[in-house]
């Protein structure tokens, strides 16, 4: 069964429809909403598989279907769908992981009063992400990009009655919007220089070689687009929203961190990869390296279960960006795909733990869950090993290896490569810490003590994801780089990866060993006990635990700046402009006063005198009006005589 590109829109349309149905459904119709969402996503998944089959028929082709969104007088704004292996693989991944998360949510959110809404938002999220993936137009991509932002806003703030959740949602939206503005400017620039935002359009799209060759300022455009990715994919320095996004329900975290939101940035960079100049790639590579290191470092000192995972996401996203930066977007996508599965697994596992432990998230207060939650433990451990890069069996190892391999081969600088290596050790270390704290030892809190395994709705997805986590590694091994060849037909597997592989195996072992030495050997007894790492390096630990004080730094700089600007703008209004107006008004009133005085003294006095004399004259005249008819008659007669004489004397005829 294959799916033609013209019908590609069905993939995002179905979840969107589910979202609409869910919205219009009456309140409390949890089952209807959930089943519609799951059914829609299942269909989407099947369609995605069909799309994959179509795409694999000719991996090097970019099938497109463009249409006009609206006309402008000059030309039209066109959108379109694009089907190539990248799109198809992403669709399959998003729908599959998303589906499992949906199923998991039916268990996790069962008791929530607003569960109906939750599934609407989830569907919207999936629809937006799928739309983003199939977009053949950067504009459509941007539209969906923003909708992803909206959906994440709604979901992070799902428990909006909690002030922290509301604040985190806002923070996520605003922070990513900063990046989005860069993206928007990049798009505008691109639009202005090429006249189109279609990616592939029979030789006229922005990614078509003819157009690319004639593009000026593409470094800047690339970097501006990268801004968007920095925001959405939580790269340094805009990574601050990602850990806070943990305020949302855990399935949301899974969706954001695995399949949808953060993947969008990496996907975007992979999509526009031909646009990126070497200069832009250097910036991307270093940003990725810094993020990878930064995330891993901070993760070591966190104590919140989900936060640790969140920072691990930041770190892994750094890897992906690093891969793109060093020129191997294929490796980035490979890592993105494997990461999607094992991170979803880890988050759902964490959700399972949290659900079982009555919403206890602090790893210091958990512990000993290995016994009561066997399935969760096993699957979580698989995910952890994949993330840590435990060799051979787990997909994470292969994809990370691909990234490191690409970094090693980068001609410009080896610094990102070394940063990646350090991050490998750290990843292994903090994941060991996490597992040791949560699953080993004995329960240190009320929640953990009463924990028990969850229902099948929650464990089944875990099992499936764990299976995929293991199996997925097979598609991109150096011996059979199927994925790489599919995505990039010109891919050449370079030999000589054995030494590198050995190094990284040693490093992973080092990290695991260190972690076990610190946390596994001597298990934590009380939840209040100090962290071993804090004992060794208290100040560094505190600094890392405070997330390197990025939030404080931003609050002190950008936050303050914004507040000052707001105060200035307001004061400008209230005092300066209003003051000017008031001054004018006062001036007007003053002029009026002066005028009035002048009137009183000058004009009015003159008027008074004139009118007084007029009145006097009038009085005199009225005195002449006696009412004596004889007098009048007399005057007429005399007047007549006098007039006649006057005429005669004056010589008139």
């Amino acid at each position: 069964m294959s799916l033609s590109v013209q019908l590609l829109w069905l993939i995002p349309a179905l979840p969107l429809l589910a979202a609409v149905v869910g919205t219009l459904a009456p309140r409390g119709e949890f089952k209807l909403s959930a089943s519609t969402a799951i059914a829609a996503l299942t269909l989407s998944f099947l369609l995605s598989c069909g799309a994959l089959i179509t795409a694999l028929a000719d991996p090097s082709a970019h099938l497109t279907s463009n249409f006009t969104w609206f006309d402008l007088g000059h030309g039209a704004v066109r959108l379109g769908w694009l089907l190539d292996p990248l799109t198809a693989l992403m669709c399959v991944m998003v729908t599959f992981v998303g589906l499992l998360i949906f199923v998991f949510s039916t268990g996790y959110m069962r008791d929530d009063a607003n569960a109906k809404q939750f599934f609407c938002f989830l569907s919207l999220f999936a629809a937006a992400m799928l739309g983003l993936i199939i977009a053949n137009s950067l504009l459509l991509l941007f539209v969906c990009w923003e909708l992803v932002g909206l959906a994440s806003y709604l979901l992070i703030g799902f428990w909006f009655h909690k002030p922290e959740a509301a604040a985190a949602a806002k923070k996520a939206f605003i922070t990513t919007r900063i990046g989005d503005l860069g993206l928007l400017l990049g798009l505008l620039w691109l639009y202005d220089s090429t006249g189109t935002l279609l990616l592939y359009d029979e030789g006229q799209g922005v990614l078509d070689p003819v157009v690319l060759a004639g593009l000026g300022g593409s470094t800047a455009i690339g970097l501006l687009i990268f801004c968007g990715a920095v925001g959405k994919s939580g790269q340094f320095p805009l990574h601050v929203w990602l850990p806070d996004a943990m305020e949302g329900p855990t399935p949301v975290s899974a969706l954001i961190h695995a399949a949808t939101m953060v993947a969008a940035g990496v996907f975007l960079m992979a999509r526009v990869f031909p646009l990126l100049t070497p200069d832009a790639l250097i910036v991307i590579a270093f940003t990725g390296a810094i993020t990878a290191l930064l995330g891993a470092l901070i993760a070591c000192a966190q104590s919140d279960l989900k936060r640790i995972l969140a920072f691990s996401t930041v770190s892994q996203l750094g890897y992906m960006m690093l891969a793109i930066g060093v020129g191997s977007w294929v490796a980035a996508i490979f890592h993105l795909l494997t990461h999607a599965f094992f991170k979803a697994l880890l988050f759902l596992g964490a959700g399972s733990v949290i659900h079982a432990a009555h919403h206890e998230q602090d790893i210091r207060a958990l512990g000993g869950l290995r016994g009561p939650m066997k399935t969760t433990f096993v699957t979580f451990a698989i995910g952890m090993m994949a993330l840590a890069g435990v060799p051979f069996l787990f997909s994470g190892f292969w994809s990370k290896e691909a990234v490191l391999h690409a970094a090693h081969g980068w001609g410009f600088s080896q610094i990102p490569f070394y940063a990646g290596l350090v991050a490998v050790v750290l990843t292994a270390f903090y994941m060991t810490r996490l597992v040791a704290e949560v699953f080993f030892g004995h329960p240190r809190g009320n929640g953990a003590a009463h924990a028990h395994e969850n229902t099948a709705a929650m464990t089944l997805p875990l099992g499936l994801l764990a299976a995929c986590t293991i199996l997925l590694g097979a598609i991109g091994t150096p011996w059979w780089p199927w994925l790489q060849r599919t995505l990039d037909p010109e891919f050449l597997s370079e030999p000589g990866g054995a030494g590198l592989m050995a190094t990284s195996i040693v490093l992973v072992a080092l990290g695991l060993g260190a972690g076990w030495a610190l946390y596994g050997r001597k298990l934590r007894q009380k939840s209040a006990a100090a962290d071993p790492l804090a004992v060794i390096a208290p100040r560094a630990f505190a600094f890392l635990a405070a997330r390197m004080k990025f939030d404080k730094l931003y609050a002190a700089t950008f936050g303050r700046l914004s507040d000052t600007l707001a105060a200035c703008a307001d004061a400008l209004d209230r005092h300066v402009w209003d003051g000017v107006v008031r001054l004018l008004a006062r001036l007007g009133r003053f002029t009026g006063l002066v005028n009035r005085e002048a009137d009183e003294e000058g004009l009015n006095a003159g008027f008074d005198a004139t009118s007084e004399s007029i009145r006097a004259t009038a009085k005199a005249y009225s005195r002449a009006h006696t009412g004596d008819a004889h007098g009048y008659l007399l005057m007429i007669a005399f007047g007549f005589v006098v007039l006649v004489f006057a005429v005669l004397v004056g010589g008139g005829r």
Binding site: A637, V644, F645
Partner: protein
């Protein structure tokens, strides 16, 4: 010519007498005579229709009205003041009248008037009627309206018999405060 002089003298004499006499009734009667003289003058001048009109209006109608007025306004006792009231007034009147007359006579004598008498124009009543109803139809209508209005005005002026003002005021004053106005007497 002699007829004209005769008519003039009679007319002027009766008018002068009318103006000088004390008794108003006599004055009115003499004035009627004077008007009749004027009618004679019109006849002499060949304007027969005007003469008839003069007789009808002045001799017939206005003299009657004057007589009525005189009779109606007769004071309870004969007026003590003799006309002309004062010598000064009479003198002033005389001087003014003389001056005006002088001006007139001067003007008449010095003006170059046509000396020869043209053949007397004849105006038949028919002609006059045509003239009135033709060229002067508008004026005729207006005069008709004027007469009607004058008639009404005269009736209103002379016949309005207002209620004495004091009576109604007394009514209001005598009324205790708060009681509604009586219907009668308060209507304006």
């Amino acid at each position: 010519m002699m007829a004209l002089i005769l008519i003039a003298l009679v007319t002027l004499a009766s008018a002068a007498a009318a103006m000088l006499l004390r008794n108003l009734i006599h004055s009115a009667l003499l004035l009627t005579a004077s008007w009749a003289g004027l009618a004679a003058f019109y006849l002499w001048a060949g304007a027969e229709f005007v003469a008839f009109a003069q007789v009808l209006v002045y001799v017939g109608a206005i003299s009657m009205v004057v007589l009525f007025a005189v009779l109606l306004t007769r004071p309870p006792q004969p007026m003590p003041v003799t006309p002309p009231n004062t010598l000064g007034r009479a003198l002033v009147a005389l001087i003014t009248g003389g001056a005006v007359l002088g001006v007139f006579i001067g003007a008449i004598v010095s003006s170059p008037l046509p000396a020869t008498a043209a053949p007397a124009p004849t105006v038949s009543v028919k002609q006059l009627g045509l003239e009135l109803a033709g060229r002067h139809a508008g004026a005729l209508l207006i005069v008709g309206a004027l007469l009607t209005v004058a008639l009404l005005g005269a009736v209103v002026l002379a016949a309005t018999d207002r209620e004495p003002v004091g009576a109604s005021l007394d009514d209001v004053r005598g009324r205790p405060p708060g009681t509604p106005l009586q219907k009668s007497g308060d209507a304006p």
